[in-house]
Symmetry: C2
Subunit: 352 residues, 2 copies
């Protein structure tokens, strides 16, 4: 699990708490960051966003993406930055463009329906290397962070990316994507392999551009039956984990309570947990070596501050050590900033 | 768990397989029905629906609701009818009207935000007794079924109903509804109690109108952390189960894998399972007395027929006995009718 040499990180980073925990080293308190911390919870983000034509302009303009990536470090003093981007840049690089529709979410004018659609997709390094704007955003961020905290890069897990490429948009059931698994499992595997090849190339380019750590998000893990998760999701996440040996990697498979044992066998450093999971149950299922990340209920940040502080402390005690503090989901856009700060400050004041 | 006397049901019903299983009696094969079987999977439903102004016209016109309730009995020969209606008739009876927006789902022009909103809600029998069109639909259906199969009545669980009343529409996160639990738990409990009182009165009137069996749907169970599910959901479902002793009752709490032990302690006859749950794991957690209902992946019905037949048989074997066959979710609108028929016929041909 020691995917990064201590030298490499510590010579440049003033705060490497999160890398230490991912590597299994002792720390005096858990590090803390929030999924979606760069975004609508921050007034400075909303101010910048209001001046732009849309979400994609922000994703595709490196200086702006870097700016919003650093905002939560300045405002919240969290222990890691995560590059501002979107998991759907991968389908776009593969040849399937998306739009981000205000208040509705992503929309793909064309979707994957048949073998010819998969055949014509670009994949691997040829696809990933097109995403200049992401790598440039990482380079600018890394330079401007100047070692304050580690920089996290990310990608969607192949099953989640397939879901969008086939469904064409968000869905309560993702029944079109799921239909493909039953009606044409061979084509699904071909598509998953192309996505995986592209994702590995992409993550390696992110490392080259300065990412100190990586996270793979399987946002739609929870809609697959266990047997299908084992067949269509786990093997591709495994390929990614096996390919990434340069920096620590976290796998967050939301709602995949039924797949914990399999997730525990991946060659990753950290497993992300949603807010339903009990840390000690998870520890028993995945074994002693990995760090765990999570898992406060994001809605707790709507509560009075005393309750946020108390439940955050209880959560940390529940995890014992080897813990990276986060919410169990991305922070919701209307979360009060004071609630977020109370959460972060409680963690930073904690001592094991 | 013997909530209905055998005499009462058997004198009138030609097929009482589902009631027998709910009561814990021996049967030669499991009964089968589908959640949302009355609806868009049937061409005769789509033909009728196309002539109407909207979904609510169908819900509120007893003769038409009865007609679509009986369609799946004629077309699919399933072992139970479920009255065509909507869980949101309860908020409407309480004073909060809803619209059903084509392709988007329910929308409440007014929502519950503060104490005054809860205070002015009608509740209990005064609210429930307004739903004449539901009771009349049950009476017509019962008469026209003429004992062919039992008739199931249903309601949403109080937490799910609260979610819609506060959120005002469907949501990926239901964060407004969840915010209420953290910011004003007292008000949430007051609202839940009013919903519960109304639901109990409503279900008793459904029994009086001919329902042979009841099901409570907690569609949004899976978004609450375990501790909140214990506090805000389970106690109100328990009140409902305790109050209903006349007919068997089923509780289906979707995605509530973390609450199985508590669900197992309810005074209900049957627990509905989503497609993630392993029947033998569930059996261990909830004990030997209750029937289990479910839990084929609804997307399996997109698969080739041989696969549907094989996996349906395997599922039945996995449950052993005390099993009512169903999908693990409502059948999806674009499911091929031949897939549905293959599923139903496989169950009907099965012998223990």
């Amino acid at each position: 699990m020691q995917k990064v040499s201590a030298d490499q990180a510590q010579t440049v980073l003033q705060n490497d708490l999160i890398l230490k925990v991912a590597r299994g080293e002792e720390v005096e308190r858990p590090p803390v960051w929030l999924m979606r911390q760069a975004g609508r919870i921050l007034p400075q983000y909303r101010a910048l966003r209001g001046k732009l034509s849309g979400f994609k302009e922000l994703v595709e303009t490196p200086a702006l993406a870097a700016e919003v990536t650093i905002q939560p470090i300045d405002e919240l003093d969290v222990d890691a930055a995560i590059i501002f981007s979107d998991i759907l840049v991968i389908p776009e690089a593969m040849g399937l463009t998306y739009e981000m529709v205000e208040k509705k979410g992503p929309f793909f004018p064309e979707t994957i329906q048949q073998a010819a659609d998969v055949e014509k997709l670009v994949s691997g390094d040829s696809a990933a290397s097109q995403l200049h704007y992401v790598f440039e955003a990482l380079e600018i961020t890394k330079r401007e962070l100047a070692g304050r905290v580690p920089l996290i890069g990310f990608a969607g897990a192949p099953w989640t990316i397939l879901s969008y490429m086939v469904e064409g948009q968000g869905s309560k059931t993702f029944s079109k994507a799921r239909k493909l698994l039953y009606q044409n499992p061979k084509l699904a595997h071909q598509l998953l392999q192309k996505i995986t090849d592209t994702t590995i190339a992409y993550l390696k380019l992110k490392i080259a551009a300065g990412a100190d750590m990586l996270q793979v998000f399987d946002s739609w893990a929870g809609i697959l039956p266990k047997a299908q998760y084992s067949e269509f999701a786990i093997p591709y996440i495994r390929q990614i984990c096996d390919a990434i040996q340069e920096v620590p990697i976290t796998v967050f498979a939301k709602d995949a309570w039924f797949a914990l044992e399999e997730l525990g066998q991946l060659d990753c450093n950290t497993i992300g947990l949603d807010w339903h999971l009990d840390p000690q149950d998870v520890r028993q299922k995945i074994g002693p070596t990995k760090a765990l990340q999570g898992n406060l209920d994001p809605c707790l940040l709507y509560a009075p501050q005393e309750e946020i502080a108390e439940k955050t402390q209880n959560m940390i005690k529940g995890f014992k050590k080897q813990h990276i503090v986060n919410l169990g989901h991305g922070v919701y856009p209307d979360t009060p900033l004071d609630g977020v700060k109370c959460f972060v400050n409680t963690v930073k004041a904690y001592r094991y």
